[in-house]
């Protein structure tokens, strides 16, 4: 234990080691900066440890159910003997561990110093980092805030982390519960349905608005619900959660559905009502700086600068959409700007993907929004039932829709169906490259593949399709 307070000086301090933070740290180090990266939990943040990655691992595992059914149908007589959920969870943990150490290796390679602790701003030039047994002072030239978000906590339904849980605990369950009540019909809730219903749980969803997935197109949601009853059967809309009570071993959610009392029982109540940046920002003590926060989001410009000239912010704390890929891009932009490059977050299109079954992915404008700006539109559609490739797999439900201007310039694409999350990449690239329907339609897509469908949808918009009418 050293007597005295010797400050460490560094070029850049990054607070938060999630996608936004660690990518900024590594990028800045590559550009020659001295970087200190701080996180109060694990490297990788929410995404790697208790969000995107573990969720996808489970979803992957859950596919067994439909796969086996399909195999049986086509002549392979197989049966699921037994599900060892513990093992699945361990496999998931392994993946997370692998990714985390991958990031750690990158950080080491670039000489980024990592400190595990909680950071608090002393002023616009220094922070205090509270670690387990000590407190360090760090003086910086520039700082990046990448503290991310936390699940929203509903009053009356505070997380006790035993029965009332958030997505973090959900991904660490030791065994598949019989019944889960999900408060919130957004994508997290729907993905939860996907994961656990395939493993045999009964998932009940309550949503305050009049339909689930309110942020997605009605047509898409209808398609989802058509394909799978999981997304339809135990869904309670226009129902507001109010509280919880406990009966025997179960938790009972008490809700109000249009004036009527509604009670739903489950082993767990998952509160997936959105995410907020507030608790993460609060502990930073931003009052000691010139950083301005409005409505829970840090105010920044396109170069990720805040109102304090020494401090930048990226990721969820900056605004919606709260997606890891947006954070990755912003983190890199901030690092480059700090290193003197003329970068900016001028991306015009941010794709969204949802890992339900079938998957949903969108980018750009849908028909409704497009009509607000443009009078005449060219819309093309291609159902996966017409896709040769789709027919050779288990999945044929869904469609691709492209929306273009009357002169053919692409405005957006929506995909429901197998591999939507993969196919949306091509659509996003086409949009950023200011492509026209013809650019995509007349580019030869290998056959037979899923992405062909995008090309086919564009052809349909041009009335050139030979596979649909």
């Amino acid at each position: 234990m050293v007597v005295g307070d010797i400050a460490t000086g560094t070029d850049l301090v990054v607070i938060g080691a999630g996608p936004g933070g660690y990518s900024a740290a590594i990028r800045a180090a590559q550009e020659g900066q001295d970087v200190v990266l701080i996180d109060k939990e694990k490297i990788g943040g929410t995404c790697l440890n208790r969000g995107c990655i573990p969720a996808k691992a489970f979803i992957h595992a859950s596919k067994f159910h439909d796969d086996i059914q399909h195999w049986n149908r086509i002549g392979i007589k197989a049966e699921c003997e037994h599900i060892d959920f513990q093992e699945i969870k361990e496999w998931k943990d392994e993946i997370v561990e692998k990714l985390d150490s991958g990031v750690e290796r990158m950080l080491e390679h670039e000489n980024v110093e990592y400190k595990k602790g909680e950071a608090k701003f002393i002023d616009s030039n220094s922070i205090r980092v509270e670690e387990e047994h000590r407190t360090d002072k760090i003086e910086f030239e520039k700082a990046i805030i990448a503290t991310g978000s936390s699940p929203v906590e509903l009053s009356g339904l505070e997380f006790d982390r035993e029965k009332v849980i958030s997505s973090r605990e959900l991904l660490n369950l030791e065994e598949v519960p019989d019944e889960i009540v999900v408060v919130g019909g957004g994508y997290i809730g729907m993905e939860a349905v996907t994961k656990f219903s395939k493993f045999g749980a009964t998932v009940k969803v309550i949503e305050a608005r009049d339909r689930v997935l309110a942020n997605f197109d009605e047509e898409i949601v209808n398609q989802l619900q058509e394909v799978s009853d999981h997304y339809r059967d135990e869904i309670y809309t226009s129902a507001k959660a109010q509280g919880v009570r406990y009966e025997d071993d179960k938790a009972v959610l008490v809700a109000d559905q249009e004036g009527e009392k509604l009670e739903i029982e489950g082993d767990y109540i998952l509160v997936a009502a959105g995410r907020t940046t507030r608790p993460n920002l609060k502990s930073l003590e931003l009052d000691s700086t010139n950083v301005e926060v409005e409505n829970g989001f840090v105010q920044t410009d396109r170069q990720m600068r805040t109102t304090d000239e020494n401090i930048f912010a990226v990721g969820d704390v900056v605004g919606r959409p709260m997606l890891a890929h947006k954070a990755y891009r912003e983190g890199k932009v901030a690092a480059e700007v700090i290193s003197g490059k003329k970068s900016a977050f001028d991306n015009q299109y941010i794709p969204k993907a949802m890992y339900t079954d079938p998957e949903v992915a969108t980018v750009g404008l849908n028909a409704e929004k497009a009509r607000e700006e443009y009078e005449d539109l060219n819309i093309g559609r291609f159902p996966f039932t017409a896709s040769g490739r789709a027919l050779t797999t288990t999945k044929t439900d869904g469609f691709i829709r492209v929306v273009a201007r009357d002169d053919g310039k692409l405005l957006g694409a929506q995909i429901v169906g197998p591999r939507a999350s993969d196919m949306i990449a091509e659509a996003a690239l086409a949009l950023e490259m200011q492509a026209y329907l013809g650019d995509v339609a007349h580019t030869i897509h290998a056959h037979p593949t899923f992405p062909e469908a995008l090309s086919e949808a564009c052809e349909d918009a041009l009335d050139e399709s030979v596979h649909t009418y």
Binding site: D301, R302, Q303, R305, K342, A344, D346, Q348, Q434, Y436
Partner: protein, 474 residues
Amino acid sequence: MITIKFEFPDTGEGVTEGKFLEWNVETGDDVEEDQVIGEAETDKAVVEIPAPADGTVKELMASPGDRVEVGDIIMELETQGAGKRKKSDNNSEQKEEASVEEVEETPEEEKNEASKEDDSDNSSESSKDILALPKVRKLAEEKGVDPATIKSGERITEEDVLEAAEGGNSSQSKAIGQDSEEVNATPSVRQLAREKDIDIQRVEGTGRGGKITREDIVKTAEGSEEVTEKTNKTTKTMRSEDYRGEVQRVQMTGLRKSIASKMEKSRFTAPHVTHVEKADITDLADLRDKVKNEVDAHLTYLPFIMKASLNALKDYPDLNAELDEQKDEVIRKKFYDFNIAVDTDRGLLVPKINSVDDKNMVKLAEDIVEKAEEARDEELDREEMQPGTFSITNLGVIGGEEFTPIINYPQVAILGIGKIGETAEVVEGEVVPRTTVKLSLSYDHRVVDGATAAHFMNDLVENLENPEELMVNL
């Protein structure tokens, strides 16, 4: 609420500058448009200065007694909304000229400044002309502003740099920081625009549907460079296709460019007169012959000529001086540092020999050799290349009887030495061979009159023709 930078107005009659007399207002005062806020004196009359708009006086930049030029900013005024800006005709004309180009971009005034500053050819590399503290230079570098474009000859302050930077960069960085509206360009083209400091929102796209292509950005960048070059040059340059025969283009080196600009400046600032006098240095030649083998140093005529000049300068101090154009004062220097012109592979260099009065001939001879070597070996540092008080150029060693040397700005005079050789002279009625040399003195007629120059030369020649007397007077 905007701040108007009020420039000293052109009151006509060909007046380009004046002396600022007094302010009738103070900072913080409210003024009305056309209200008389100050007075200045031109060489024709005392003129009143009207306020350009309604507003509040933010800052007064001229002080009584200051020399102001038309276009100099003398006051900052804070007004509501878009106040009218009265600018001198000269300035607006120049800016309009600049905007008439085929470039798609519609240049704002600030944009032009920015591209001028950022893209301008750094022809005036001679950092001697730029008076700025190291930290001011560093600031200029950080802000991407070339200090040479701010002012030269006068001290540049931090504020000057920030102002110059703001003019250019504010619209630029705003563009980066703003919410982008839909930009019809791919990500790599958007990045290219940022790197070239071009506001992509103002570029017209030639791609399909108005898409901005890579070529559009490159053309825009070049276009603004062209604009810069065109407004900087005063003469048209012929394109090589216009020549009747083959030509070879040789790029000017930094040194060449610096010499060029110095010569131009000197020639066109000081009215040059060259006074030639022949000196009979037969006796001096004898003396030198006798002595040169006794000393280690390579003893040429130059140290003698330096000492002879030194003596004459002591009697005619106006030739060892500098003209302070701002204050209308002749600065007579009481120290004697001579620049000696040296021909090197790279071009003409004029290293300085300090304190000629403190050194004897041998030391001078040694110094000359040393400095010449250093000049040739490129070992001189900036201090050693600074102008001294008087210059001597010895072209005669290569050739030439008499010539018209150009004064080494900001000195007042320069002495050219011609060929030393035997000529036929008349001595006591007879034509005899004598060793003579012609000395060509160019001087600045603003400071030195013909008579003074002639007296000086007589003294100098007398010193050279009577070396024993010179010794006694050293």
